[in-house]
């Protein structure tokens, strides 16, 4: 898949804010960010209340996704351009989610809110209203989603790519360093996983590194392109960013995102866990 099919630049985006058939969608971890100013014409999706089942720890089902996109005024034929904060963490999560339910044309705004803001591009607070549609989703594409049993079976077989920070990987921290430390019952990583923090795939301004740089980074970390791959982090959004890099930019064919990630795996009874930096130290 070419980079141009899955990424758009901030400059392209600004030129296409009013292009019919192109819908900008903001998805932030900080779900108040949109309200303080958003890309003109963009609609907001709240990942906590609109992409998550309100009771079970799971996604909204197919009918729920159809209802959501219909209410947002997104048609099956639209090109959806996703962007957000945290270097596009949750925009990448939403991108993977749109792919999970079979949306045909979806792209990431390279660099997300960060690049947009650093460029000084316009933001506004206008309320965006789009005419409702009748959206039809597909069944979940489980070729891109991994569940816990498959992850356990993948130990020592598939590429397991842990995209958290080195201190989370080694078990020193249970959460990113900008958060209070809580969450999973145990620290560490899945045995045989390699540690390639998501941030290695991004430039300082939040845009993705070139394919040559990405190939070098994953190759030097021990990624084996001939193997199937599962990426994970803590709750599945940073690993969506890496899934995007591996599957959408580099074109590796069999790459799954494990959205249960460490908050699930690190709380399971009896599964193997490895501590340390994974290099025998």
């Amino acid at each position: 898949m070419s980079r141009e099919e899955v990424l758009v630049s901030a400059a392209w985006s600004e030129e296409n804010l009013d292009t019919p058939g192109v819908v900008f969608v903001e998805v932030d971890e900080d779900t108040t960010a949109y309200d303080g100013g958003h890309v003109p014409g963009a609609v907001k999706i709240d990942w906590k209340t609109e992409l998550q089942d309100p009771v079970r720890r799971d996604f909204v089902d197919r009918a729920g996704f159809e209802a959501l996109l219909s209410a947002k005024g997104i048609a099956n034929s639209d090109t959806v351009v996703l962007y957000g904060g945290n270097n596009n963490w949750f925009a990448a999560y939403a991108y993977w989610y749109f792919k999970l339910y079979g949306h045909d044309s979806v792209k990431l705004l390279d660099g997300g809110r960060k690049k947009w803001e650093l460029d000084g591009r316009p933001l506004d607070k206008d309320v965006v209203r789009r005419e409702p549609t009748t959206y039809t989703a597909q069944d979940q594409d489980l070729t891109i989603r991994a569940f816990r049993d498959e992850v356990v079976e993948a130990i020592g077989d598939k590429n397991l790519v842990d995209v958290r920070s080195p201190d989370e990987f080694s078990g020193k921290l249970l959460a990113p360093a900008h958060l209070p430390q809580e969450q999973a019952q145990r620290g560490g990583h899945i045995p045989s996983a390699i540690n390639v923090p998501w941030s290695k795939a991004a430039n300082e301004d939040g845009t993705f590194k070139s394919n040559d740089e990405l190939d070098r980074i994953y190759g030097e970390a021990g990624f084996d392109g001939s193997r199937k791959t599962i990426a994970y982090c803590r709750i599945g959004e940073r690993s969506s960013h890496t899934w995007f890099a591996l599957h959408e930019l580099l074109g590796h064919g069999d790459v799954k995102n494990y959205d249960g990630s460490w908050t699930e795996y690190g709380s399971l009874i009896g599964v193997p866990i490895e501590l340390g930096d994974g290099k025998g130290n």
Partner: protein
């Protein structure tokens, strides 16, 4: 913060710091005034990215780190800047970053 999020808590408000927590806390400034909306990155002693938050309207930021020497780097449309801070143990370690 709860299981369902990965975003930073509100920056610049008082928080309870646990007995074993290493907290780096400070402000982004420009010409002496606070800079809100800056992208503040925490880099470890090898320069590796560890975390990022957006400074509050008052320029405040905070990281929960491990003991060690850290670089705090701020990016803003008005300019960039960075500072180092040594956090040798639990507690709140102040740091200020000027962007220009």
């Amino acid at each position: 913060m709860s299981l369902d999020g990965c975003g930073a808590p509100q920056q610049g408000v008082d928080i309870a710091v646990g007995a074993n927590e290493v907290v780096l806390s400070g402000k982004v400034k420009s010409a002496g005034g606070p800079v809100g909306g800056a992208f503040v990155r925490l880099l470890d002693s090898t320069g590796e990215f560890t975390a990022e938050v957006v400074s509050s309207p008052e320029g405040d930021f905070r990281f929960f780190a491990a003991p060690g020497t850290w670089t705090v780097r701020a990016l803003h449309r008005s300019g960039n800047g960075q500072s180092s801070v040594s956090a040798d143990g639990p507690g709140v370690h102040p740091v200020e970053v000027a962007v220009a």
